[in-house]
């Protein structure tokens, strides 16, 4: 645990990628394989299921620190991180356990899951007493699932590749699925990550997907497109679907469905199970899982409702039926096709989908008059959008909202399928439509977490429920947002919040409304769970409207007009 705490301290103390890389390399070289296995798991974003209920963790820590509850709460508000707060409040221990990360995880922490509260309350303090403050904070972060240290998966991949002296792309492939909940890190799994490359590696991949290739945002004036991208004929243009990016892996008679987070989600989409029958072994498709109903894609909100469910009832499946819109073929007849040009992959994909549908290639095009026929299809092609030139495509893109898509994807016809956000073997661009935007008033503020702890950076925004000439009108909250401001703006807003506080409710302050921000969001839906009757997706601050008085902020009417 101590060595991992030292690694954490080194990573936390720097913003330089090279320094982080060096820290990880040093650690991976020194650490016993079973400890390194767990370190990779956490650094690459792995989160075990909750080990101890948060409430119990807090209560036990509060008692062990000998503090009243309110003082624990005050402390937590100042620190902004539960694990750190507890580590600062518990009595300090001067000797620290020599047991490694693996022993801590496997023998001390994982067995805590599911224990009755009384037993947990008894077991935790003696565990804590074995750790000095840095190790204790780290241990608590592992328990709360709040471990974050600012290294990307790509950086972990590079560190491992350097230790193993092999191609980082190979390591990326081996790391796929490593952080999935079903996988338990072990000395063997770490050795497998850094083993020399072998010929039968491809044959032993089981249900593993490939690392996802990701798109870059395209932000340029349409006039510059031809200069930047060449003619549209060099590109495959598709709609940008608002769903869950996924790979369908069919091997050895089985189907695995993986989400972009490299999480195995097969069980969440039982309707895809029948694709196991029609996809031949040794095929991997890349596409988007969407809710598909009445011959068209449904809002993401509908899909989201079923993601969170533990059990999928017939009713849920009927309300939000899932389908895959396929757009790439990564493996065919057991062969890795990622180094073939996209045009070739796409041509083959069209045949695969057609065979699976038992029909001519069905295009998931809502303008398609056969839309009703694809009502029950669970695998469709993401259609290509044809345009005479970029202006023509830009015009078609304006209909994105009506189609329920987020804009367009531009994929180089000759591009290979890269790893993550690489650009060296061809590029995918996401050409999104501008977000919705309204001018809203800041009415509540709460202190942030982590780097923003103790600054008021989490805000609730409101719009007016009546026109400016209505003397009775009030501000109705409709969205929370905390991103989009520069550090300097954050400090300024923090000062204004403190100056204009009206009331404090626990960690939240209400303020005299003086600040107007342009809020951007990606989607909007009616909602009876919100006071305003409206729910927005991905709200964030686009800019601070210094020029706008509060009276001129937008109204609920403006928002309602945006509803689909």
């Amino acid at each position: 645990m101590k060595a991992f705490a030292e690694l954490y301290a080194r990573l936390d103390a720097t913003t330089s990628s090279n320094a982080k890389l060096a820290a990880m390399r040093d650690y991976f070289r020194e650490a016993p394989a079973e400890d390194a296995a767990w370190a990779v798991y956490f650094l690459a974003g792995g989160r075990p299921r909750q080990l101890v209920p948060t409430r119990l963790l807090r209560d036990t820590a509060t008692r062990a620190a000998g503090l009243p509850d309110w003082l624990f709460e005050e402390s937590y508000q100042a620190v902004g991180d539960l694990a750190e707060t507890i580590s600062l409040l518990l009595p300090e221990s001067h000797h620290t356990s020599d047991d490694g990360l693996a022993v801590w995880m496997q023998e001390k922490l994982l067995p805590l899951r599911g224990l009755p509260p009384e037993e947990l309350a008894e077991r935790l303090p003696p565990l804590w007493a074995q750790l000095d403050r840095p190790s204790l904070m780290l241990c608590l972060k592992l328990v709360t699932g709040a471990f974050r240290v600012g290294v990307s998966k790509l950086l972990v991949t590079r560190a491992l590749a350097a230790v193993a002296d092999i191609d980082p792309k190979r390591v990326a492939q081996r790391l796929v699925g490593y952080t999935d909940l079903s996988h338990r890190p072990s000395a063997d799994s770490f050795q497998a990550l850094i083993a020399p490359e072998s010929d039968d590696e491809h044959a032993q991949r089981g249900g593993q997907p490939y690392p996802f290739f990701l798109a870059h945002p395209l932000q340029a004036e349409i006039e510059r497109f031809a200069g930047l991208l060449g003619p549209p004929s060099d590109w495959l243009v598709e709609w940008k679907w608002d769903g869950i990016r996924a790979q369908l892996v069919k091997r050895d008679g089985r189907l695995w469905v993986w989400s972009r987070g490299e999480e195995l989600v097969s069980e969440r989409f039982p309707e895809l199970e029948r694709l196991a029958d029609c996809l031949p072994d040794g095929s991997v498709l890349d596409g988007e899982i969407v809710a598909w109903k009445d011959g068209r894609v449904q809002p993401f909100a509908l899909l989201q409702q079923r993601i969170g469910r533990k059990t999928l009832t017939a009713k849920v499946l009927e309300q939000a039926p899932a389908a895959v819109l396929a757009y790439d073929l990564l493996e065919w007849q057991g062969e890795d096709w990622r180094q073939r040009p996209l045009g070739e992959r796409r041509a083959c994909l069209e045949q695969v989908v057609a065979r699976c549908s038992g029909d001519a290639a069905i295009q998931a095009d809502l303008l398609d008059e056969h839309a009703a026929a694809v009502e029950h299809a669970v695998l469709m092609l993401s259609p290509l959008v044809e345009g005479t030139d970029w202006h023509d495509l830009a015009r078609q893109r304006e209909a994105s909202r009506e189609r329920g898509v987020e804009g367009m994807m531009l994929k180089a016809r000759d591009s290979r399928y890269g790893v993550g956000r690489t650009k060296d073997v061809g590029v995918w661009w996401k050409w999104k439509i501008d977000p919705y935007s309204v001018d809203a008033v800041l009415i509540y503020a709460q202190r942030g977490h982590g780097r923003r702890a103790s600054l008021y950076t989490d805000f609730t925004f409101a719009v007016w429920d009546g026109a400016p000439d209505d003397p009775e009108r009030k501000l109705v909250p409709f969205a929370k947002a905390y991103s989009g401001l520069t550090d300097e703006e954050m400090r300024q807003v923090d000062a204004i919040v403190r100056r204009t506080t009206v009331e404090k409710f626990g960690p939240v302050r209400s303020v005299t409304p003086t600040l107007v921000f342009e809020l951007g969001f990606e989607g909007i839906a009616a909602s009876n769970r919100h006071k305003s009757g409206i729910a927005v997706r991905f709200p964030r601050m686009l800019r601070w409207r210094h020029d706008k008085p509060v009276e001129e902020a937008d109204t609920l009417e403006t928002l309602r007009a945006l509803l689909p």
């Binding site: 402390s75 508000q77 100042a78 977490h449 103790s454 400090r491």
Partner: protein, 345 residues
């Protein structure tokens, strides 16, 4: 009778007709210590502890109308007996003891309970009512020992010097800087100080505090090879300024009690944060309050509400005093703008 009340000008002693650390110009000001939020311009008369004279005159002018008393020496004014007692915060910092008709009040100003070798250590003074600061009035603030912090600082400096990288340590110019100088291992390399620190070093040395030899940054050329082995002490305001350009490759750090929290440390954007404060931590505050034997405690600047509530729950009569004292480091860390409110939360 209350010997001290809060007035718009500052903390006021009605029977004595004088103020303690006023923030607006008044006729008579008793000054606890020389930090800018406690010792301000424009008072008719100043009274302070003798060891603070050098710093007060350096900061507020050589002709300051200042009268001083040695620690423990008393003076009678309008029937109030006044004396200064060491607060252990910076050189010359003092608690003010007031006695009137058998009632004793002590105003602490800012204080720290751990002795540091650069100023006279804090001495608890028995009283009926104690006026305490609460800058670090939360139980999350428990300082590591000074010895371990200085070991960390010296290790960091040594590691940087080994690879020829300048170590720039930001710290408040009065008190903190001298305390760090006192704890540095001068064998590691040259010690360089910013122009804001140098005059205060002189005062400390004149007062007999041992500080290692220092070089004034302005005397070194931009590419002076000595800089590569050096540690540089500079006020936080120098960070990000053109002044920093003289150091090619450097590692930076910040020394403050606020560095206890990871979020503050990261927001500060320096490579390292060292937990070193001139203020009492939570156990220090509680110990100091207990030592006074006071049944009544008036809490000023910092985590006022928290400390008041906690003390009340311990059976003391605790109340809040509204003041305009701040914390220079926090002002620099958290606000950095014209906000007039301290951090009430």
């Amino acid at each position: 009778m209350d010997l001290v009340i809060a007035r718009p000008e500052g903390l006021y002693c009605p029977p004595g007709d004088f103020y303690i650390d006023p923030w607006r110009p008044v006729e008579r000001a008793v000054i606890t210590h020389a930090h800018g939020d406690h010792a301000r311009w424009g008072m008719g008369h100043y009274l302070a502890a003798a060891p603070s004279e050098g710093i007060l005159r350096t900061r507020l002018g050589p002709d300051l109308p200042l009268q001083t008393l040695a620690y423990g020496e008393s003076l009678d004014h309008n029937g109030v007996t006044l004396s200064f007692h060491p607060a252990g915060h910076v050189l010359g910092s003092a608690q003010v003891r007031l006695e009137y008709r058998g009632e004793v009040w002590v105003a602490s100003g800012d204080y720290k309970v751990e002795p540091d070798g650069t100023c006279t250590p804090f001495e608890p003074v028995r009283c009926h009512c104690f006026i305490s600061e609460s800058t670090f009035g939360l139980p999350i603030y428990r300082w590591p020992t000074q010895a371990s912090v200085f070991r960390e600082i010296n290790d960091w400096w040594r590691a940087n010097a080994a690879v020829g990288r300048t170590s720039v340590l930001f710290c408040y110019a009065l008190g903190k800087a001298q305390r760090i100088l006192h704890g540095l291992d001068a064998d590691i390399g040259p010690i360089v100080v910013h122009g804001a620190v140098e005059p205060l070093n002189r005062v400390y040395r004149e007062a007999g505090v041992h500080l290692p030899d220092t070089l004034y940054a302005g005397d070194l050329a931009k590419n002076d090879p000595r800089l590569r082995q050096a540690i540089v002490l500079a006020p936080p305001s120098a960070g990000g300024s053109t002044w920093m350009r003289r150091f090619g490759d450097y590692s930076d750090a910040f020394a403050s009690g606020w560095m206890m929290l990871r979020g503050t440390r990261r927001r500060r954007g320096v490579d390292r944060g060292f937990v070193l404060s001139d203020h009492a931590d939570w156990p220090g505050l509680l110990w100091a309050i207990e030592q006074t034997g006071a049944e009544r405690v008036m809490v000023t600047h910092g985590s006022v509400a928290v400390l008041v509530r906690y003390l009340c729950e311990q059976g003391l009569d605790a109340q809040a005093f509204d003041t305009e004292y701040g914390d220079e480091e926090e002002a620099d860390l958290v606000a950095r703008q014209e906000s007039t409110e301290g951090d009430a939360g």
